[in-house]
């Protein structure tokens, strides 16, 4: 159940982004979860619903996109998509000695929110 600590970190990122944008309410968030992190989407949803309470994001919908893992062979450099439930064997050199180069992270992609005023309508725009 590391989903709970991930949900807590997600909420931190969401609330910081919301504050920077002057949001009054967060409607939804989009998160990419890498396959190597072994996150159970249903468990992350449940954890998210628990941690978002009493915040700007208390009804924010969590949209999850799962990212498959890619491995790079340390022996021959070949990049391939391993079946992580079964094998990390390099298709070229037949050794299982890899660096995970994709699908090893959890990324907050975007926060969809309501703002009390559009910051871009004021003086200057936010980067």
């Amino acid at each position: 159940m590391h989903e709970m600590s991930i949900a807590v970190s997600m909420l931190d990122g969401v609330l910081q982004a919301a504050a920077r944008a002057g949001a009054v309410r967060v409607e939804a968030i989009e998160v990419e979860i890498g396959a190597m992190k072994l996150v159970v989407p249903e468990a992350l949803q449940a954890a998210w619903e628990a941690v978002r309470a009493d915040t700007l994001a208390d009804e924010a919908v969590l949209k999850i996109e799962e990212i498959s893992a890619w491995a790079e062979c340390r022996q021959c450099g070949r990049r391939f998509e391993p079946d992580i439930a079964y094998s990390f064997l390099c298709p070229d050199c037949n050794r299982a000695d890899v660096e995970i180069v994709r699908g090893n992270d959890i990324v907050l992609k975007s926060v969809i929110c309501q703002v009390d005023r559009d910051p871009s309508a004021g003086e200057g725009t936010e980067a």
């Binding site: 159940m1 590391h2 709970m4 600590s5 991930i6 970190s9 997600m10 931190d12 990122g13 982004a17 919301a18 920077r20 944008a21 949001a23 409607e27 998160v31 190597m36 992190k37 072994l38 996150v39 340390r74 992580i84 439930a85 079964y86 094998s87 990390f88 064997l89 050794r95 299982a96 000695d97 890899v98 995970i100 992270d105 959890i106 990324v107 907050l108 992609k109 975007s110 926060v111 969809i112 929110c113 309501q114 703002v115 559009d118």
Partner: protein, 228 residues
């Protein structure tokens, strides 16, 4: 409605602390090892054997992660230069901030090996970089010979794999060939060391591996520091 593109790692706070931990430990020329396994696979028993043997040549410290109780830390207290207990409460894994807190209580320059005994769990600890140099995964004979195949992502990232409690091989039905076969697909880099903390079998091979890793690390770090 406004869509804010964020694109930041949810784990970035953890990973930033992990990088600091690693830099701090590398700077002190100590080698840190994250021990991961299911509960009851013999992490503490292994340390009970390992620490007195290493003490002849090295100063060792241990950070012990546990949900509750200080039992593991108490078992190790007399055997290492410093033993720090980290109670994770309901947390099923250690994180980099907890390790950073543990490091603050240690005189890193006086330590050669830091063992980080993670919470017994084969899924969650793998998701969190602690800043350790090496990851050692244990599996014990009583857990069954299908463990590697069941938890490939954990075994994939191991720098060494220890098959513990091999003194029970004659007692329990266990096919080591199955473990080796699974590892031949999942991790061919990490050595598989078969050992028993009870009989002492394989402990020397484990100690030799530790010594090699310590020597291998000490040299490049010293060169790296000169270059900086």
């Amino acid at each position: 409605m406004k869509k804010i593109n964020v694109v930041e790692s949810v784990l970035q706070a953890n990973d930033a602390i992990a990088r600091d931990n690693r830099a701090l430990m590398s700077g002190a020329s100590l080698l840190s090892i994250n021990l991961m396994s299911a509960p009851g696979s013999g992490k503490t028993a292994l340390l009970e054997k390992t620490l007195p043997a290493l003490a002849r040549e090295y100063a060792c410290a241990v950070l012990v992660g546990d949900l509750q109780t200080t039992r593991d830390a108490e078992r190790l207290e007399e055997l290492a230069t410093a033993v720090t207990q980290i109670n994770t409460g309901r947390g099923c894994h250690l994180d980099a901030a907890q390790v950073a807190e543990g490091l603050r209580g240690l005189k890193l320059d006086d330590i050669d090996f830091l063992f980080i005994e993670n919470v017994g769990n084969m899924v969650c600890p793998a998701a969190f970089d602690l800043g350790e140099h090496l990851r050692v995964v244990l599996l014990s004979v009583p857990e069954g010979d299908d463990k590697v195949g069941k938890y490939p992502t954990l075994f994939q990232l191991a720098d060494a794999i220890l098959l513990t409690k091999v003194d029970l091989l004659g007692v329990l039905e266990y096919d080591i060939g199955r473990v080796r076969d699974d590892l031949s697909r999942i991790n061919t880099r990490a050595p598989l060391i078969e050992l028993s903390s009870t009989s002492g079998q394989g402990i020397n091979q484990w100690l030799t591996w530790l010594g090699e890793q310590h020597r291998a690390r000490a040299t490049p770090v010293a060169i790296g520091l000169k270059d900086d």
